[in-house]
Structures are given as structure tokens and as C-alpha cells.
């Protein structure tokens, strides 16, 4: 690693030689989004997430001609990404396996599993069919319940981490481990 790396855009780089086992990621300099290993992780995760979303589209019925498949994957994905990112942040710095997990499961899988373009096109199609209530309802339920799902995911991961670190420190220093 060169010392001249842009630390602001990539805070995990500073002590990477010690933190990152070479079999997990070949150490390269430069920004995260230009490293082949990370690009590959995101691509494989994205392909698997896309497959899972397609599976949901096949399985979930479109009752009342409403886009339930997109709603379902987006809400599940918003919840799981909240759990994942909060759990990773609580475990430590964004490097090594944690960064690989974030890019593969978060940026890749959850990013590919959920979709915004379908949400937008489906909402527009409801509007075009003069189903104003359905369009507004679909958009707002996705946004509001999705946000609550993300917050719930973050909160659950944080609560789990706190209770785990309390157990680890024998209830003596509840606030000590972060």
C-alpha cells in the first residue's frame, strides 16, 4: 500500500497490510471501487440478488394488479441491509472480511435484490391507468414501511450487539464495548 492513498475516500486503507489476510483480498492500492476483487464480489452478489428477485416475481401473485413482488423484495431488502450494515459497523472497521461481506451481501446481493427502477415504472403505470389511490399508496407504503424496516434492522443489530458485549464483559461495563 502506498502512503499516498486518498484516506478520505477510503478510510480502511491505513493499516491494511496487517488487517487484511492476503488470501481474502489481494492488496492493491487505489479506491475501493476500482479494485478487481471488490468489483467481482459486487458482480456475483448482484447476479445472485437479481436471480432471487426474479424468483420472487415468479412466486408472488399480483393480486388486484398491484406490484406485490417488488414491494416484498424492497421491504425485505431494506430490513436486511439495515441489519447487515449496522452489525458490520458495530464489529469494527470496514476492512478485510467485513468489507468483503459488505460488498458481496450489501452492495451486491441486497442492491441487486431490491430495485428502484421497477418501483418508479410501476408507480407511473398505476398513474397512467388512472389508479391514483393505488399509485400513491404503493409509493408511500414502499417508502414509509421500507424506512421503518431499515430502522428496525439497524435497531435490532445494535440491540443484539449491546447484549452480546454485555454478556462478554460479565455485565460489569455495559457501555464499555462499542
Amino acid at each position: 500500500m502506498s502512503r499516498g492513498d486518498d484516506a478520505a475516500s477510503d478510510p480502511g486503507d491505513a493499516r491494511q497490510e496487517h488487517a487484511e489476510p492476503t488470501h481474502v483480498a489481494p492488496v492493491r492500492s487505489g479506491p475501493v471501487h476500482l479494485r478487481p476483487w471488490y468489483i467481482l464480489l459486487v458482480g456475483i452478489g448482484g447476479a445472485l440478488g437479481t436471480l432471487a428477485r426474479y424468483g420472487a416475481e415468479l412466486v408472488i401473485p399480483r393480486a388486484w394488479q398491484l406490484p406485490w413482488p417488488t414491494l416484498t423484495v424492497n421491504l425485505i431488502g431494506a430490513f436486511l441491509l439495515g441489519v447487515l450494515l449496522e452489525a458490520l459497523v458495530r464489529r469494527g472497521r470496514d476492512d478485510g472480511r467485513r468489507r468483503a461481506a459488505r460488498l458481496f451481501m450489501g452492495t451486491g446481493f441486497m442492491g441487486g435484490f431490491t430495485t428502484y427502477s421497477s418501483l418508479a415504472v410501476e408507480t407511473f403505470e398505476l398513474l397512467r391507468d388512472d389508479r391514483l389511490l393505488a399509485a400513491v399508496g404503493y409509493g408511500l407504503v414502499t417508502l414509509v414501511v421500507g424506512l421503518l424496516a431499515s430502522l428496525l434492522g439497524v435497531w435490532l443489530a445494535a440491540a443484539h450487539h449491546r447484549s452480546a458485549s454485555r454478556r462478554a464483559s460479565g455485565d460489569k461495563h455495559p457501555g464499555a464495548a462499542t
Binding site: 471501487h33 459486487v42 448482484g46 447476479a47 437479481t50 441491509l81 427502477s117 398513474l127 431499515s150
Partner: protein
């Protein structure tokens, strides 16, 4: 076709990852004053989702109005643009803005992004109808 769709989804995810990284790099290089609304907003996801909605609207319109085979919809629409755009990150970033008490930015990131994206999807459909 399904394998192609999955590969297109992976390529879409990579495009999102690289574009978001590029935009973050530009933002960090610091020509936006801190405290300004645009410095709190995660602009990368916003740009990705609005542009993806525009282009998915266009592809959907091509299939609807110009008898473009619906396999295109599957590979390019469900695959590429499904993988390129993301709801989970948008939702998570809004949650973070609320945690940071950036309520105006959270509102813009939530309602603003949806309105822009739906408008973009409509513009894409209209464009496909015109060509």
C-alpha cells in the same frame, strides 16, 4: 435467458458500485460547502436511481409501443436496471439521515427521490413513444 438476466444484474450492480464510488470521490474532493443540503444528501444513489428509472421507462416503452421482444425487458429491464438501481441502499441512507437528525435531507432523499424517479420513468416512456 435467465442466465443472461442474472449476468446483466451483476453488471448493473458493478455499474452502480463504480459510479457511486466515482461520485463519492468527487464529493469528498470538497467543492461542496459543508452544511449545505447537497453535502448531506447521498447524491450517488439519487443519480443512479433516477437515471435507471428513466432508462427502464424507455426500455418498457420500446417493448410496449415498438414490439421490441419482451426478452429485452427481462435481460435489460429486470436484469441490468434492476441490478443497477437499488431500494435498500436508498432506504438505509434515509434511515441514517434520520438518525443524524438531518430531517430535510431525509425527506428529500425519500419523497424527493421517488417523485424524481416516477417523473423520469414517465419521461422515458414518453420518449419511447415518440421515437
Amino acid at each position: 435467458m435467465i442466465a443472461l438476466m442474472a449476468i446483466a444484474g451483476g453488471i448493473g450492480a458493478i455499474a452502480r458500485f463504480m459510479l457511486d464510488g466515482l461520485i463519492r470521490g468527487r464529493m469528498n474532493s470538497g467543492h461542496l460547502s459543508s452544511g449545505h443540503l447537497s453535502s448531506a444528501l447521498p447524491l450517488g444513489t439519487m443519480i443512479i436511481n433516477v437515471s435507471g428509472s428513466l432508462l427502464l421507462g424507455f426500455v418498457t416503452g420500446l417493448v410496449l409501443f415498438h414490439a421490441v421482444p419482451s426478452d429485452w425487458q427481462l435481460v435489460v429491464g429486470t436484469g441490468f436496471f434492476g441490478g443497477y438501481t437499488t431500494f435498500s441502499t436508498a432506504s438505509f441512507e434515509t434511515a441514517r439521515l434520520i438518525q443524524e437528525r438531518q430531517f430535510v435531507a431525509a425527506l428529500v432523499n425519500g419523497i424527493g427521490m421517488l417523485l424524481l424517479s416516477v417523473g423520469a420513468a414517465g419521461a422515458g416512456l414518453a420518449l419511447a413513444w415518440l421515437v
